[in-house]
Symmetry: C2
Subunit: 198 residues, 2 copies
DNA sequence: TGTAAAATACCGACTGGTCGGTATGATTCT
DNA sequence: AGAATCATACCGACCAGTCGGTATTTTACA
């Protein structure tokens, strides 16, 4: 892969990300992406076999990024509750990142509802995160930090809180300080899980 | 409005609802809606000026329905906490209603992101519900049922919980008993808000 | 009450345009 | 030279919305 090629590919992905989140997946044409990226249709179809492929590539890149952030948060934290708090902050940052608007996440999910390949790419990671959080909580219980809540239920509630607040922030960006709201809500939950003795 | 006309209109809306939630808004063509409804394109454009108009009509009908349910729940409940619990059950029913799949709500929101008219129809009700719940909680505080939590924050958390669990249920329908999950989570929150003395 | 006029409801072919994807040739790098 | 990369013209399918015209119901009037 030549440097020029990589550059073109990157431009295409950046343009696609911007346009998809601004206008939506269906409403964005391949021609628009090309023109925004300063490339041609030939270049596009050299790098991506279909329009959906670039969508998938964007999503995988985003998920890989999130994975890295969570991994980092875990390593930087002394204990499980701290790690969960740190991760709630990351969720807030997801929202703050103006480029990767949450709107495109809705697009991902809407598209994934219909397409098996996208479903795999979108839903499998969700399961992974779900089980990851449940595992963290289970560790917290075994380590004595949490009382014996049901790990799966607790994980679902944690995810629901963050997700629900993110969604509300999407509808009403100015309605509240959503990242702060996420952080304080997750803290509330984590304290609720905490072992009174600790 | 003649009975036959009303019937046709209803058929069109039912077909549109089904197709929109199965295939998505953009992916559903007006021709498909017509054929599924056993009507013609002429009939469609006799009843609705644009494709978006039927979408809007569906959403308004759905919201009116939800309003009625909430109103009913409020009237049937002896006190505020009971009313909130009852409403969480309604949220669960929203999910259980197979016809009105949650997917179409995602569609609504995705579309509303881009269109001012839809935004008005989708986001204004959100604000209304938000303030409605905040009002209920405020009443609960004044009535001595709740301790002095911040009504707006509490309402946001309640909505986030229900919304977040609904979204997860959308991705992973078999992953849990989501309606039950919503109910028990909301009960947890409401108990958390409750006045210890009560 | 019977009937003609008017309004409403509906039909389906057609249009102007869009879009994902392809074919083929040009350019750039090694 | 030869492979990788990119450009341009183009194709076939699709689609929202239009339009001229038809069927059905309501209304007006003799």
């Amino acid at each position: 892969m030549q440097p020029r090629s990589l550059e073109t590919r990157l431009q295409l992905m950046e343009a696609a990300l911007r346009l998809f989140s601004q206008r939506g997946y269906q409403a964005t044409s391949v021609a628009e992406i090309c023109s925004a990226a300063g490339a041609s249709k030939g270049a596009f179809y050299h790098h991506f076999p279909t329009k959906q492929a670039i969508f998938l590539a964007l999503m995988e890149a985003w998920l890989a990024d999130l994975d890295r952030s969570f991994q980092q948060a875990y390593q930087d934290s002394a204990d499980i509750p701290t790690a969960l708090l740190q991760m709630s902050r990351i969720a807030g940052q997801v929202f703050r990142a103006a480029d990767v608007n949450l709107a495109i996440l809705l697009e991902f999910w809407v598209q994934a509802q219909r397409d098996p390949e996208l479903w795999q790419a979108a839903i499998a990671p969700y399961h992974r995160y779900q089980q990851y959080f449940a595992g963290l909580i289970r560790s917290g219980i075994q380590g004595g930090a949490f009382r014996s809540v049901h790990p799966d239920t607790a994980a679902r509630l944690l995810v629901a809180t963050a997700l629900g607040l993110l969604m509300q922030g999407l509808f009403d960006p100015q309605g509240a300080d959503w990242p702060a709201e996420i952080e304080s809500s997750v803290r509330l939950l984590v304290e609720g899980f905490a072992c009174p003795a600790a």
